[in-house]
């Protein structure tokens, strides 16, 4: 592609064409509108929306964020306007921007997930769904599914039965048998896997003995968790054949390339958006520059290179 000096950044996953492999993570980019004041969101590979629940959700009591070494905790608690307003206001707007959209679906019961997924699919303007079964910040739903493989399987097949767009399942770093879980999701019908969600985490102010977050516990994101995300993508990529979107502490193009090299087909930038609202585009440019410098022409040449490089060396 000429825009990137001879380097072709295009990626196709689950039949969806992305102009580059860089998406924005769910919950760190709103639904695009605020960010469009800072950057041209049409230049992104894709946008993963803030979680959508059936009914409007007020979210957790503040404080909702806290900084930790090279990371942050959040316990937003799925604050969102609910399915109806999402379908009226946000999804059409994103669709008009011409950027592929993964709608992040959450619920407090399996039935809610299914209903939100069905309606989003019916709207015909979302590219894919991302099932958020790994949110650590709600008492019901969310992470609960990550701890119980068979419940998660049932959820995925129910959702698959209700929609006709690709379904990605978002995994939690608090998954015991990661390979087994990822494999089960694919067998249950998942078209792709995204990982990782935030890690359950907590901080306490010792002066008052009070937790720093209104919700007591929260989810850890940012550079602190990046090596964990890399390892999980590496492991899951050895297990499944479906596309993988890798995320977790990507803090520049180098971390994005690393994610690709361990087996992600595309990456998503999360917390970094808070530090620099234009960061995603910098990651795109950085990947292109790296590829030019190294003589790679297509993104696919990077994917899984850490493993292929080694087996090549061994073989």
């Amino acid at each position: 592609m000429d825009a990137h000096g001879g380097v072709d950044l295009r990626v196709e996953i689950s039949g969806i064409s992305l102009q580059n492999p860089v998406l924005a993570c769910s919950g760190t980019f709103g639904n695009g509108r605020e960010m469009s004041a800072w950057m041209d969101i049409r230049r992104l590979g894709g946008v993963m929306t803030k979680a959508v629940t059936l009914d409007p959700c007020a979210g957790n009591p503040p404080p909702r964020v806290w900084e930790t070494p090279s990371g942050m905790l959040n316990a937003i608690g799925l604050e969102n306007k609910g399915l109806e307003r999402f379908l009226e206001e946000d999804l059409p707007w994103l669709h008009d921007m011409g950027v592929p959209v993964w709608v992040n679906v959450a619920g407090f019961t399996a039935a809610e997930y299914v209903e939100v997924a069905r309606e989003v699919s019916r709207a015909k303007i979302a590219s894919a769904l991302e099932l958020n079964i790994s949110c650590p910040n709600v008492k019901k739903g969310g992470l609960h599914f990550s701890a119980d493989e068979s419940e998660a399987e049932r959820l995925v097949s129910a959702v698959k039965g209700a929609v006709d767009i690709p379904v990605y399942v978002k995994l939690s770093p608090r998954t015991g048998d990661l390979r087994g879980f990822a494999g089960a999701m694919v067998r249950a019908g998942a078209d792709g896997i995204s990982l990782i969600n935030t890690m359950p985490a907590m901080a306490v102010d010792v002066e008052t003995a009070r937790p720093r977050l209104g919700n007591l516990t929260g989810g850890l994101s940012g550079p602190a968790i990046h090596p964990v995300a890399v390892q999980m993508v590496w492991e899951v990529a050895q297990e499944v054949d479906v596309p993988i979107i890798g995320m977790g502490g990507i803090w520049g193009w180098r971390d994005a390339v690393e994610m690709l090299m361990v087996g992600a087909d595309a990456v998503a930038v999360g917390t970094l958006n808070f530090t620099d609202p234009t960061a995603t585009l910098g990651v795109v440019e950085g990947i292109a520059a790296f590829m030019r410098r190294k003589g790679y022409r297509r993104v696919g040449e990077l994917v899984d290179l850490a493993r292929r490089g080694r087996s090549g060396a061994a073989g």
């Binding site: 760190t28 980019f29 007020a58 009591p61 909702r64 959040n74 550079p223 958006n273 609202p277």
Partner: protein
């Protein structure tokens, strides 16, 4: 329009526990009083920016007043000429300047920052205003009270009685002018805002509508996308709004003061 700037620090003035950092800004940086900048505060594993109200906007410069409150602000307070700051701004919804009648500005501690900028702007626009500034002891902010007194009618309230009114800024404000002010603007610790709101409500049922407060809430993005800076609002019941983009300035009657009080 808000944007990201890499600004040069061209001056620092130390005022006791706080320092004013004067930065060179381009002409298109046009803050409104009550807006803030979101400042990257060094490395050391600190990945989030810190919000600071605009304290002044001069010829080619803008400044913030930084009070040391933790590691990030401590790093920031030590910057000076030669350093550059990475800022986003101006951000958020500032004060509504339109009002009938006099203006009463109530500041607690470093909450003086946005109110100083507001006072300057009001005076420039030919309005009158009275500033009640509370602090622990008179020496806390060095010579800053004297500097500000040259610009506007600033009255101090010191909790320890070491200067001005002996007591809180809210007490002082209520003494000064609690009924006639067309608009009361406030910024300070949550307890101060709570007590001020309660006193305004006592006066008359519409008291809260005459109040504008700038709230402090922990922020991640500062631009409205993370929903980290939730502030409990009255309508719809149980809902939150974003301090960074819906605020930091809210009208007193927009907020749910009961839930505000329940926060720690």
């Amino acid at each position: 329009m808000p944007a990201r700037y890499l600004v040069a620090v061209v001056g620092r003035r130390d005022y006791g526990c706080a320092s004013e950092l004067v930065c060179e800004v381009p002409d298109d940086f046009r803050p409104h009083p009550g807006q803030f900048v979101h400042v990257a505060c060094g490395g050391d594993g600190r990945i989030l920016r810190r919000p600071f109200s605009v304290f002044d906007r001069g010829e080619g410069t803008a400044s913030i007043l930084v009070r040391e409150a933790g590691e990030g602000s401590s790093w920031l307070k030590r910057r000076g000429p030669g350093d550059r700051l990475d800022i986003l701004g101006p951000l958020g919804r500032g004060f509504d300047l339109c009002a009938e009648g006099g203006r009463l500005l109530v500041a607690g501690g470093a909450g003086i920052a946005p109110l100083r900028f507001l006072a300057k702007r009001l005076l420039e626009e030919g309005e009158t205003c009275l500033v009640a500034w509370g602090m622990g002891e008179a020496a806390e902010y060095g010579v800053l009270p004297d500097v500000l007194k040259k610009e506007a009618d600033v009255r101090l309230a010191c909790l320890d009685g070491s200067g001005g009114h002996a007591g809180s800024a809210v007490d002082l404000a209520m003494q000064l002018d609690r009924e006639s002010a067309g608009q009361v603007y406030a910024c300070g610790p949550r307890e101060m805002l709570l007590s001020l709101a309660a006193r305004m409500e006592e006066v008359d049922r519409e008291g809260l509508a005459r109040l504008q407060v700038s709230v402090e809430e922990r922020m991640a993005c500062g631009v409205g996308v993370c929903r980290g800076c939730a502030v409990p609002v009255a309508e719809p019941p149980g809902a939150y709004r974003a301090a960074c983009s819906d605020g930091p300035v809210f009208r007193g009657d927009e907020l749910d003061w009961m839930r505000m009080a329940a926060l720690t």
